[in-house]
Amino acid sequence: MNQASAPAPRESYELTGKRTKELTKRQIRKARISGIVLLLLSGLVMLVFVPAVSGVSTFGLSTPDDAIQLDSLAVPSAGSLWVLSAVLAFLGATQFFRGFQGKTTIILGISFGVFAIALMVWAASGQEFSLISMLVATVSRSTPIALGALSGILCERSGVVNIGIEGMLLGGAFTGVVMGSLLGGWVGLLAATLTGGVLALLLAVLAVKFRVDQIIIGVVINILVLGLTSFLTAQVLVKKPELNDAPIFAAVKIPILGDIPIIGPMFFDQTIIVYGMFFLIGSVTYLLFRTRWGLRTRAVGENPKAADSLGVSVAKVRYLAVIYGGMVGGFAGAWFTLGSVGRFDENMTGGRGFIGLAAMIFGAWNPIGAFLAALIFGFSESLQQKFALLDIPIPSEFLAMAPYLVTIVVVAGVVGRVRPPAADGQPYEKQ
């Protein structure tokens, strides 16, 4: 009703589909709001952080066993904060009065990055802050989130909503540790992957064949896995601790690449599960957007009827996509046990599956976007971890909240509305 079509510019995009670009009132309002948010952040840095610091902030850029040692970076705390605050104020004011239009999202990303740096300068004032270990932890911690998001993307691109990622992570973590304890890490990893696949098969059968509401199935999977693993932990793992003692995958350093300062330890000196995540993000992106399988999967997620009328089997496409998605989720579960501590604790995934869903939406159902979103969440987790170790005068629970608050602001007010696959969550009934 409100999408009144103006007749005049029609000819211009008749064949090419190009739209005219003009600033709408809504965009102007958004630019104003985000400008104000940036100005407030600038004020926060200037008025709260600056008076609290003294001396220099030191950032460690290398760990002792790195091949190439970089000197720690020492910056004057107050001076840096003044500069960062000024940058935020400049970006905020520009956004408020003029707006960055097409570049808004990038500029906002940079702004939040600047704010994060300010936060670290403040925290590191007068002490040494190991930046490198935090960056390494960021990549590692973003792994289960990125994989969870990828699991969701695979399912939802085919039109099946997967709320059960959390359950798939938890199930994978559990069987991973048990099979890992019995038969070694690789078998554990395989078992975790298969567990996710089996849970996804349940989702697929109920969603595709019996057309049960997909939200409900997902919730049921989460509750079922949580209950089952908690029960088995209390009844079995506690009595037989040898079943809850799996080998941990050690970080594997890739020759040469692993020696590059900063980048090396972040990306080329990680566990096999992190490498698996890189490989899956890249390969699923390629598969989804460049292959026949991807075209058909996306078509089924957007307009199953059209796909069906062209001889594409909607059920087959959905079964495959959901099962692949589940396997990715189960693989991600192994990160919690085989990839870090080697033992299972009740509900140890702690909502990472749901954060993965948020990363999926934030990344607009695109694997690479979801990975970048996962990095933000991973960064926030490791920052919080770091702050808990340093002597910071704010409770770490509040710090843990901040990134999510930022996310809400970003998702709700700034990023253009992202669009899920059109047939997402809708059962398909052949006529």
């Binding site: 005049a8 026949r292 009827k305």
Partner: protein, 501 residues
């Protein structure tokens, strides 16, 4: 290729949808298959496209017997369906839509996008179907989307093309272009089946016409000699008069008056540009114009659904420019909206509830906040009877009604209120001849009772059949005003195209 159907019979529980249907579509010709909604056209086409299996009869292509187990068989046999509701993925590019299911690939199932674009280009050049292979479907106008559908079936090697109500969603200009495409396909030897209930279109493009009624073939007609009246009578089974009987109107006092009404979109561009008009009691004013020239916005400005930027809307001498939708409704403006499914009714509600949508909160239908079921049922039964809504089952959902009957239900709701002004936007879009005739009669009856009527229609025939006075909208402005008796469709058509002096 020549297509023959012999004695096709298809039964559904309790219904004989196709009864011994035989027809022939000759190679390189256009066969128009016409019939009312429910005449069995869709069932027949579903049999032809392999979705249903016939209980009896046979399908012959070039004299060879065919068996279709699923749509894939029909496609292989060279039959291509262009559905009324396009089967396209809106967020995909043109070439992605076209190749879906028959993707050219390199090793390992990797799409060969260069080959895909080349295939689309080749067909679009060979048949004169200009379209950019990389354009996104949702950015394209409906007429171009239809071309993509046609390219899709041609790519799959279709020699027999079946178009289901192809013009229902097109603007008049796009309809012209579509007829050009049909002529081109025909010239290249394609056999075309054109399902429609628009008689003039059937007469304009067809080489043969076959008429279905109640699941049977009731006749064939030669488009060179038949008249729309002949076809309408065959379709409906009784004499149909396509001209509306009416005396000249006798305009009385002014009921609705718009002065310099302007409305702008989000970008600040004018949707309505200083529109002034008036409608008097006892006259029908018709707004002619090609879709998208401000008619929708005009109606929404009068009914209050969209706010106006400047100007004045007066009703019965009172300024209602800022009044709410409910207030305007209560003052006495009835509105038959242009999109019956999205705005006219709630498809999942019962007929009874749909009939009460505008008055459920008033006595006697509501008392102390509780609905009075007995009154509602009684009133609803009266309305379906009085307005000939079939089937007259008030507990069925609105969505279960055919287009024509759903429209009659909406007309029943709006016309049953005794109010001074009735606005009908596209009152007969996409509905059957019998319902059109009926609704036109009701509109004239309402005028004869001394009501002011405003009709918005993109069908010039309808404008001329009903109006006492005709206004033409172009680019958000009223560009012409004529008394119906003083003008011709040609003159109005020129104004509609923005070419009038």
């Amino acid at each position: 290729m020549e297509l023959q159907l012999r004695g096709i019979t298809k039964r559904f529980p309790g219904v004989l949808a196709n009864d011994d249907v035989s027809l022939t579509a000759r190679s390189g010709t256009v066969l128009a298959l016409i019939g009312e909604n429910g005449a069995g056209k869709s069932t027949l086409m579903n049999v032809l496209s392999g979705l249903y299996r016939a209980d009896g009869g046979e399908i012959l292509i070039d004299g060879v017997h065919q068996t279709f187990r699923d749509p894939g068989d029909a496609i292989k046999a060279g039959i291509g369906m262009v559905h009324q509701h396009f089967m396209l993925v809106p967020v995909f590019s043109v070439y992605e839509n076209v190749i879906l299911g028959v993707e050219p690939t390199k090793a390992g199932g990797v799409l060969n996008r260069r080959e895909a674009r080349r295939e689309v280009k080749e067909i679009s050049e060979r048949y004169g179907l200009a379209v950019d292979p990389d354009a996104k479907i949702e950015d394209l106008p409906v007429g171009i989307q239809q071309r993509v559908e046609i390219i899709k079936v041609l790519l799959r090697g279709a020699k027999i093309l079946v178009f289901d109500e192809p013009t229902a969603v097109l603007t008049p200009q796009e309809v012209e272009e579509f007829f050009g495409i049909v002529a081109e396909l025909k010239a290249r030897g394609a056999t075309i089946i054109f399902i429609t209930h628009k008689l003039k279109e059937a007469l304009a493009v067809a080489d043969d016409i076959t008429v279905l009624r109640g699941g049977r073939v009731v006749g064939h007609a030669d488009p060179k000699t038949a008249t729309p009246e002949d076809l309408a009578s065959m379709m409906v089974g009784r004499e149909i008069d396509l001209t509306v009987d009416k005396e000249p109107g006798t305009p009385g006092r002014t009921v609705l008056e718009l002065t310099d009404v302007t409305m702008v979109d989000d970008y600040g561009r004018p949707l309505l540009n200083k529109v002034s008009l008036s409608v008097a009691a006892g006259e029908i004013v018709g707004i002619a114009g090609i879709q998208g020239n401000g008619q929708t916005e005009l109606v929404e400005a009068i009914t209050g659904l969209l706010p106006i930027a400047s100007g004045r809307v007066e009703f019965d001498g009172n300024d209602i420019s800022g009044a709410s939708v409910r207030s305007r409704h209560m003052r006495g403006i009835a509105h038959v909206p242009e999109d019956r499914n999205d705005m006219g009714m709630v498809s999942s509600f019962t007929v009874k509830d749909n009939l009460m949508l505008d008055s459920y909160y008033t006595a006697p239908f509501s008392k102390g906040g509780r609905l009075q079921r007995d009154h509602i049922v009684e009133a609803a039964l009266g309305l379906v009877e009085a307005y000939d809504v079939r089937p007259p089952l008030i507990e069925n959902t609105g969505g279960a009604l055919s287009g024509g009957n759903a429209q009659k239900m909406i007309v029943a709701r709006e016309f049953s209120r005794d109010v001074p002004l009735v606005i009908c936007a596209q009152p007969t879009r996409g509905i059957d001849v019998g319902s059109i005739e009926y609704i036109h009669e009701q509109i004239v009856r309402k005028r004869n009772e001394g009501k002011a009527i405003l009709i918005v229609s993109t069908e010039l025939d309808e404008i001329f059949a009903l109006s006492d006075r005709i206004l033409v909208m172009y680019d958000g402005k009223i560009v012409a005003e004529r008394l119906a008796g003083d003008t011709t469709p040609t003159e109005i058509g020129l104004f509609m195209a923005g070419k009038g002096s």
